[in-house]
Structures are given as structure tokens and as C-alpha cells.
């Protein structure tokens, strides 16, 4: 670790001397090396470092935060004074003091193993990979053209050291790898089709071999070409709908993960990311779905993109059952919301970088899989649609009314996948989705994303996933 815990301890002690009830000092270093390419050419090589200390204090029942990208003792002592002055500046406007739940004080150190050192996956190797992705993708397309394929490949080493006035001390090192390809397929008569596809997780350079991005991206281009060239419009009548893990994962993230963030339930993000259809009195009582509606957020999944073992308030992480067999079950908590809900934090406080206050975030959110195969899931469907991936999506600010526009999709006829379908539009409510799951298969898959929330906006790495899911019949729209 680049910063001695003793240095942060002195800062925390100084904050206490100045009257803070609680002080938390977090050193965070985010180091990124990456490339951007367009087709067979490099656009630029980039290298970013964000390194400094964020200090959060609770004073007179008000929260203050200040950060600096200096790690000198004098600057840090000045910064803790700034944090305290910020809290004091508006504490008179608080009617009810902010309090934190009491938690077990954690001391720990963890990291993610790199079987092959991630930083050894250098710029030269990244460029080689990007060129191979482009070349293989271009070769895989026969009738259409691939005029644009850009890649964004990067390694990210994140180090954190959290020290609190209650004695917590957590040291973490998480290396992450990210590969993205954005493509445009074009056909003279059929128009264009765009895809953005990511592979991302935590670990070492060995992830490249495990993922095989060249194969994944190029094979997908071949399938998408068929959708572009031969895709039909979905039928206008109500049909059975089956959603693939990528779409299901996004739905779980948007309509279970976000509405179950306790700060959102309480309105803390109301003027930015919005509130939640979930009210505090729903917890443990309200049924949002049927027996298949179990959604879990688990930061401890090895090699996941949203991996952590302790949160940024020093609370030990664990899986959280957001929805459990249809019941609105356990919100994501930090110490502030846990106190209001009269419970314990479940370790959901995360910060994007050293300039960011820790706020409640998801990690790896997924709908629980079942036991049957995909073939069994669709075997009794006479006429339906299977939506495997998407481009456009959105959801309202209380996480109820949502839309997903399919990208790779197929008709299901007599229990088997049939011809490709172009641009099917799914619109439904959260209540309808979780109440109309008729089956889930055993094929749990995860997809990466950067989840945005907070002000200033914080993007944090997450996975979302699920199995293939069969839904009740619904009317599928088409892009006008």
C-alpha cells in the first residue's frame, strides 16, 4: 500500500479532536492503462491515475466530506478540517441528526489473485488483441459490411485503505480487466445494426484466455448479421417471451437492485437518480412476484467485476437477498440507512474514487437460476420469442415502468429456436415481470456494466446476470 495506515490514523484522530463524532479516511488509488482503436488503427494509448484521500466526518449530526490528491500530513490535516467545516456549515439546517448503526469493527486485508500479472498485459498485447477482434469480426460477416468496429481495452488496478475512528482498518487491492467492442453492421437494403459488448471482471491477464474475446465478438457478429439481413418483425399478437441472461441480468439490476437501495427508498437520491416504488413498510411483507422472483446481490463472487469483501465503511460484505421467492426482502444498506431501518449494515457502501463519498451501491446482482435446461424451458412453447441481447433500455425514476429493445432475438416455434427477429420492443412493469416468470433454466451467466448514481455521478463496476427466463404471453412491440 502506498500510504501508511498510521498516516490516516493521525488524520482520523485529528478529526475526533476537532469534535467529529465519526471520521473515516480512505486512501484510494485507481490506475488505468488502456487503448482505443477504430477498425485496424489505434486512436490513442491512455494512462490515468487518480490517487488521493477522501475524508468523511459526522459532526453535530451532519455529514461533511472533503478530498485531496495530496498525501502529505499537513494537507491531510487541513482536509479533515475542511470536511468538518463543511459539515458545520449546514448542520443548523438539519432537524434530525444523522446517526450510524453500530457495527462490528473490521480489520482486514484482501486482494484478488492474478495468476498472470495484469499489468504484464501491456499496450502491445492490447493492440494485438484489438486487431484480432477486428480482423476476425470482419471475416465473420458475409453479406453485410462491418464499416466500424471500435475497441476499448483497459486494465485497472484499484487499491484502497479505509481507516475509521471506530477502529476499522481495511486494505484492498482489486485488479480489473475490461474489453469492449462497439460495432456497426451495415446492409444496403436492411440498414444498420449496432452492438456494444463488454467482457470484464477482476483477476489477472489469464482472464483473456478464459474469455476468448476474439471468438466471442466475431461469432456474435456472424449471428447479428443474420438478424440484420434476415430478421423479421415480431408477430402482433400476444406470444410467449423468453429472455436471455444478458436481458434478465439488466432487469434484475434495474428493477430489483436499484429499487432496493435503502437510500433511494428513503429519498436521498430523489433529485438525481430518483426514488423507489418500494416503501419502508414493504420490507419483509410485500409480494412483488412469484416463487421464481429471487434476486441476490453478492459482492463476494470470485473474479466478478463488482467484487469486494469489505465495503468503504469497513463493514464485511455478504450476499443480500433483495427479493426472496417473490417477497421484497432485504434492501442494500450502509450504516446511515441501517440506523433508520433499525437494522445492521449489509456492507453496500462503495466509492468510485477518492473524491467520492461512499454511497449505497450494487455489486453483482442476479436472478436465481433453476435446474432445467434451456431446451426444457422452451419445449412447450408453440409460438414465442427469445430475446438474447439488447441495446436500448430505460426505466422510470421509481423503477417500475421499463423498456428493453432486443438486438439478437429469435422466434421460438414448436419448442425450438427459429428465424431471427429484428428490434423487438418489450415494455412492462416491475410487478408484471416478477409475477409472470413461468420458469428459469440453470444457465446462470453474468455481464458487466458501469452503474451510475450519486451527485457528482459515480460510476462503479458491477456484474448483472441471471438464467434464461420464460415469461407469460405478452404483446411484443416493434420500433416505429
Amino acid at each position: 500500500m502506498q500510504v501508511d495506515p498510521g498516516l490516516l490514523r493521525r488524520v482520523v484522530d485529528r478529526g475526533r479532536e476537532l469534535g467529529a463524532q465519526y471520521v473515516e479516511a480512505r486512501f484510494q488509488d485507481d490506475y488505468v492503462v488502456g487503448i482505443g482503436t477504430r477498425n485496424d488503427r489505434v486512436i490513442a494509448v491512455y494512462n490515468n491515475r487518480s490517487s488521493g484521500v477522501g475524508i468523511r466526518v459526522l459532526v453535530n449530526g451532519a455529514l461533511g466530506f472533503a478530498s485531496t490528491n495530496s498525501t502529505s500530513l499537513s494537507d491531510l490535516l487541513e482536509t479533515v478540517e475542511y470536511a468538518i467545516s463543511q459539515a458545520k456549515a449546514t448542520s443548523s439546517l438539519r432537524k434530525k441528526p444523522i446517526e450510524f448503526s453500530e457495527e462490528e469493527v473490521s480489520k482486514g486485508k484482501y486482494g484478488v489473485e492474478e495468476k498472470e500479472r495484469l499489468l504484464d498485459f501491456g499496450v502491445e498485447e492490447m493492440i494485438k488483441l484489438a486487431m484480432e477482434i477486428y480482423s476476425a469480426s470482419k471475416s465473420s460477416v458475409k453479406e453485410a459490411k462491418l464499416p466500424f468496429l471500435s475497441t476499448d481495452i483497459r486494465v485497472h488496478i484499484q487499491e484502497k485503505l479505509v481507516v475509521t475512528s471506530e477502529g476499522a482498518q481495511i486494505e484492498a487491492r482489486v485488479p480489473r480487466l475490461y474489453v469492449n467492442a462497439f460495432s456497426v453492421l451495415m446492409h444496403l437494403e436492411k440498414g444498420t445494426l449496432q452492438r456494444s459488448r463488454w467482457l470484464a471482471g477482476s483477476g489477472g491477464a489469464e482472464l483473456i484466455k478464459k474469455w476468448d474475446p476474439v471468438k466471442v465478438f466475431s461469432e456474435e457478429q456472424a449471428r447479428l448479421e443474420k438478424v440484420l439481413v434476415s430478421g423479421v418483425a415480431p408477430p402482433s399478437e400476444s406470444i410467449w417471451v423468453v429472455l436471455g441472461p444478458e436481458v434478465v441480468g439488466l432487469i434484475a439490476h434495474e428493477s430489483a437492485g436499484h429499487p432496493m437501495e435503502a437510500d433511494r427508498i428513503l429519498g436521498r437520491e430523489a433529485s438525481q437518480a430518483g426514488e423507489s416504488y418500494v416503501k419502508p413498510e414493504f420490507i419483509g411483507k410485500y409480494k412483488i412476484g412469484n416463487k421464481y422472483a429471487t434476486v441476490i446481490d453478492d459482492p463476494t463472487i470470485p473474479n466478478s467485476y463488482g467484487f469486494f469483501l469489505y465495503d468503504d465503511e469497513g463493514v464485511k460484505a455478504r450476499p443480500r437477498y433483495l427479493y426472496n421467492e417473490g417477497v421484497i426482502y432485504e434492501p442494500l444498506h450502509n450504516r446511515h440507512t441501517a440506523k433508520i431501518f433499525n437494522t445492521k449494515s449489509n456492507g453496500a457502501a462503495r466509492s468510485m474514487d477518492y473524491t467520492s463519498e461512499p454511497i449505497i451501491r450494487m455489486s453483482n446482482t442476479y436472478l436465481a437460476p433453476g435446474n432445467i435446461s434451456f431446451e426444457e424451458l422452451i419445449e412447450d412453447i408453440d409460438l414465442g420469442i427469445y430475446v438474447k441481447s439488447y441495446m436500448e433500455w430505460n426505466i422510470d425514476d421509481v423503477r417500475w415502468n421499463q423498456r428493453y429493445v432486443g438486438l439478437e432475438a429469435y422466434m421460438v416455434r414448436k419448442g425450438e429456436l427459429a428465424e431471427p427477429v429484428r428490434n423487438p420492443v418489450l415494455e412492462f412493469t416491475t410487478g408484471w415481470f416478477y409475477s409472470n416468470i413461468l420458469g428459469v433454466d440453470k444457465n446462470l451467466e453474468f455481464y458487466p456494466g458501469t452503474c451510475g448514481k450519486g451527485e457528482p455521478s459515480q460510476g462503479v463496476p458491477v456484474w448483472f446476470g441471471g438464467p434464461n427466463v420464460k415469461l407469460s404471453k405478452m404483446r411484443v412491440g416493434v420500433l416505429a
Binding site: 482505443g36 477504430r38 489505434v42 486512436i43 490513442a44 491512455y46 494512462n47 490515468n48 491515475r49 490517487s51 488521493g52 451532519a62 461533511g64 466530506f65 472533503a66 478530498s67 485531496t68 490528491n69 495530496s70 463543511q86 459539515a87 456549515a89 449546514t90 439546517l93 432537524k95 434530525k96 499496450v123 502491445e124 493492440i127 464499416p147 466500424f148 462497439f182 456497426v184 444498420t192 449496432q194 430523489a270 433529485s271 430518483g274 474514487d353 473524491t355 463519498e357 430505460n394 426505466i395 422510470d396 425514476d397 421509481v398 417500475w400 415502468n401 423498456r403 428490434n423 420492443v425 415494455e427 412493469t429 408484471w432 451527485e455 457528482p456 405478452m474 404483446r475 420500433l479 416505429a480
Partner: protein, 444 residues
């Protein structure tokens, strides 16, 4: 920006110029205070003091960009010196052009508000004003944000360009709650304005209390009145796609068009306005040291220019528009000239229409085709024969940007400076009616 940092930057440029063909350092020193308001109380008050160093290095047409938020300048130089050793292993950059030759430094004036420093230390006055003003409209609670910023930037290039600029920024927005209806308003400027705080509170409260009726809504095509907040959000996407790099990457609907083509209704113009000193994106020179100027992206429905840095301009056989971004050109402020109709008359003119006061979560299915949808939040109002008959909950605009721009009907004379979480490039915009927009809502 302290003298030490300044000296260090000169030293970095001098030292790295021995190894690279070109060096540019863009140093940004920022101080920001933000008060977040939650249920009519502050949830947190934050202060940031940061120095960011952005480094553009070029050698034999290869290009590197380093962004370091750190005081360890020595490490930045060390890293740059490591990079040069691997230069021959990297291919030439797709979009490379030499930095512009020496130009005179012409920083923008009139963009620094001395009062910001005082209110950074005393943000409670502003927060209290926003809370009080909003609650005075009869709403139950208010959320929002007030942010004050001081920004000093310095650009030094190995071509001899050196320029400094200082400005301030003020952002305020509020969301008011009354029953199941909410209202939202936002403002951004280079200067603190107490009137603007009061207006944000009043307008957020106005829309949260404008009707008590919840009415049924049938999805379909409507004439839609869009508030300056909605226009601000959507025009941000249009301007992003007008950046030449997304066009060259296939990320843009403008890839299909050439300057001079008519792509929108004659009544609509969109300007990139870096010289509007009232808007917080105001800037005198871009990241390559090119002097900025106001320019139409779209004027009277005709695509006039994309936004360029030197490299994209050379690629497209034109000149820089003063919008660098070393890699991606960007807009600074956006200005949409208003029309001659009063806002009230725009509502009165709606026979069967929907008034959307705010939106979020705009996403594109296909940038090349401009296919998008966005979700309304806050007051979404059904208007019949010029009267607001009730609110309809959250609906979605599902359309294309081309259709949106072509179907513009009328624009209000009044314009508002909008800057908030969902509008990151500041926009000065009127209310606008657009015909035949598809509105959806789930059937299930």
C-alpha cells in the same frame, strides 16, 4: 494555481520535449463545494480541491493521453519517459495532426464571480433559500443540489502556446414533492444568482402543484410540449453526435449527412456557444489552444458544421472549430434561439397534447439511425383544448432524433439556462412543441 505547480508544468514540457515530438500539458485546478438536499434537509456538504494534469504526447504520429489526479508530478514524468521507450511497438494513430502553431493567449473575461468564494464558506444561506422558496409553494418536501465551483486552467504546449483562464460556476436544481406529483427545475451560470435560486424553487413547486387530477392516458402519437429541461437533455445527445469523432466512428446519426443538408425544421437552430459568458461551460480556448467561437451546428434546419479538433478537421478536410478535446471534440455550451410565442400560448395552442416538464434515462438503440427513447419524470401533463386536464404519470418518448428535429413546431420566446445531473453541457433553451411524437407506456 500556485507558482510551484506552474514551474513544474514548464519543467515537464521542457523535459518531455526532448523525448517526444510534441508535448501539451493541460492543468486544471478545481475547488468545488456542493450541498445535497434530501427531504428538505442537507444530506451532505462536500468540498473538493483537486489538481488534474492532462498530458498529450506525440512521437512519430503516435499519440498518448495521460490524465493524472495526483500531486506526484515526478511519477507522471517517469511514466511518460517509460512510454517513449515503447513507441516503436505502437502503430500510428488513426486521428493524428500536429498541434496548432503558436497563437496569442486570449482568455475569456467576465466569467469569474468573486462572490463564489464567500458562499463556498457559507453555503447554508443558499441551501436555506432554496429549501424555503420551494416549500413556500405549498409542496411537502424538496430535494436538490447547490454547487459552487472555481476553476483555473493552464494550457502549455511545446509549440509555444501558453494560456491561463479562471472562471466560476454555479449550479442549482430542485425537485419538489406534493402527493404523487413532482416538479423539477434547474439553473446553471458562471455567476451566483439569488433570483435564480428563487426561480428554481418556485418553478419546481409550480409543476408539483399544477394539478391534482390523475387522468388516464392512451399511448400513441401526440403533439408534445417539451420544457427547457427536456430540450437540454435531448440536445446534449444531438451535440455529442455532432462531434466529428463519433461521426467517424459510426456513433452518430450525422454520419449520414454532409454540412449544407437540411435535417431539421426551419424553426430550429442549435449553436455551440463557448463565448456565452453567462453559461458555465464558457471557455476562451480549447485543449489545443485554438480560440473558441460561437457557431451553428444546425441553423434554420440545415446542418452547418460538425465540431472539430485539429485531427478530425484534417481527416474531414476542414478547419478546427475550437472544440478540442485532444481525442474527442466536444461542445462547450449549447444555445437554442427562441421563437416569438409565449410559453402560456404554447399550452393554449395544444388541442390534444402532452406537456413533459422533465425527463431522464435517454438511451439510443442505434446511434447511426438516431433511434432513442427517454422517460418522463415529474409533471407529465395531458392538455386538451389549451387546458391542463391532469397528470398522466411517467410516459416514454420513443422516436428518432431526426423525427424530433424535423417535427419541431413552435418555440417560446422565453429561454432558460439549464444545468443539472441529466444536462451536463449547459443549455440555454426555450419551451418547444414537437408534433407526432410516439409516446408509450407499458400495457402490462
Amino acid at each position: 494555481m500556485s507558482g510551484n505547480i506552474l514551474d513544474s508544468i514548464h519543467e515537464i514540457v521542457k523535459k518531455l520535449s526532448r523525448s517526444f515530438d510534441e508535448v501539451a500539458v493541460h492543468a486544471i485546478a478545481k475547488k468545488d463545494t456542493m450541498v445535497k438536499i434530501w427531504n428538505s434537509e442537507p444530506s451532505i456538504t462536500q468540498l473538493w480541491r483537486e489538481i488534474e494534469l492532462h498530458l498529450r504526447l506525440a512521437k512519430s504520429n503516435r499519440l498518448w493521453v495521460l490524465i493524472y489526479k495526483t500531486h506526484e508530478l515526478g511519477e507522471l514524468v517517469k511514466r511518460a519517459e517509460e512510454i517513449v521507450k515503447t513507441a516503436n511497438k505502437i502503430s500510428e494513430a488513426e486521428f493524428y495532426a500536429p498541434l496548432p502553431d503558436y497563437a496569442a493567449c486570449k482568455p475569456l473575461s467576465g466569467v469569474f464571480d468573486q462572490n463564489v468564494e464567500y458562499y463556498m464558506k457559507n453555503p447554508d444561506n443558499l441551501a436555506n433559500s432554496l429549501i424555503t422558496e420551494t416549500l413556500s409553494t405549498g409542496v411537502e418536501r424538496v430535494s436538490g443540489t447547490i454547487r459552487l465551483s472555481q476553476l483555473n486552467r493552464l494550457l502549455v504546449t511545446s509549440k509555444g502556446y501558453e494560456c491561463r483562464e479562471a472562471k466560476t460556476a454555479f449550479e442549482v436544481y430542485a425537485r419538489a414533492f406534493k402527493g404523487d406529483l413532482t416538479g423539477h427545475w434547474a439553473h446553471g451560470s458562471t455567476h451566483i444568482s439569488h433570483d435564480a435560486i428563487r426561480e428554481v424553487g418556485r418553478k419546481a413547486g409550480l409543476y408539483a402543484t399544477i394539478t391534482k387530477n390523475k387522468v388516464d392516458f392512451t399511448p400513441g402519437e401526440y403533439t408534445v410540449l417539451l420544457s427547457p429541461l427536456v430540450i437540454g437533455n435531448l440536445v446534449n445527445y444531438v451535440a455529442n453526435m455532432a462531434s466529428a469523432l463519433p461521426v467517424l466512428m459510426g456513433f452518430s446519426m450525422f454520419a449520414k449527412y454532409k454540412p449544407g443538408e437540411k435535417i431539421a425544421a426551419e424553426s430550429i437552430s442549435i449553436y455551440d456557444a463557448p463565448r456565452d459568458t453567462t453559461l458555465p461551460g464558457a471557455v476562451g480556448f480549447d485543449e489545443e489552444g485554438v480560440e473558441t467561437y460561437n457557431k451553428p451546428i444546425i441553423e434554420k434546419g440545415v446542418l452547418i458544421t460538425l465540431l472539430h479538433n485539429t485531427a478530425t478537421a484534417i481527416k474531414m478536410n476542414t478547419r478546427s472549430t475550437g472544440n478540442a478535446g485532444w481525442i474527442t471534440p466536444r461542445s462547450w455550451n449549447l444555445d437554442i434561439p427562441g421563437g416569438s410565442v409565449k410559453y402560456e400560448d404554447l399550452i393554449r395552442d395544444l388541442r390534444e397534447g402532452v406537456f413533459i416538464t422533465n425527463n431522464w434515462y435517454t438511451r439510443l438503440h442505434n446511434y447511426y439511425e438516431g433511434i432513442f427513447s427517454t422517460v418522463s419524470r415529474d409533471a407529465t401533463l395531458l392538455v386538451r383544448n389549451g387546458d391542463i386536464v391532469g397528470h398522466i404519470g411517467r410516459v416514454r418518448i420513443a422516436s428518432t432524433f431526426e423525427r424530433l428535429l424535423k417535427n419541431v413546431q413552435e418555440l417560446s420566446g422565453e429561454k432558460f439556462s439549464v444545468w443539472w445531473w441529466e444536462v451536463r453541457v449547459p443549455v440555454k433553451a426555450p419551451y418547444i412543441t414537437v408534433s407526432n411524437l410516439q409516446l408509450t407506456k407499458p400495457e402490462v
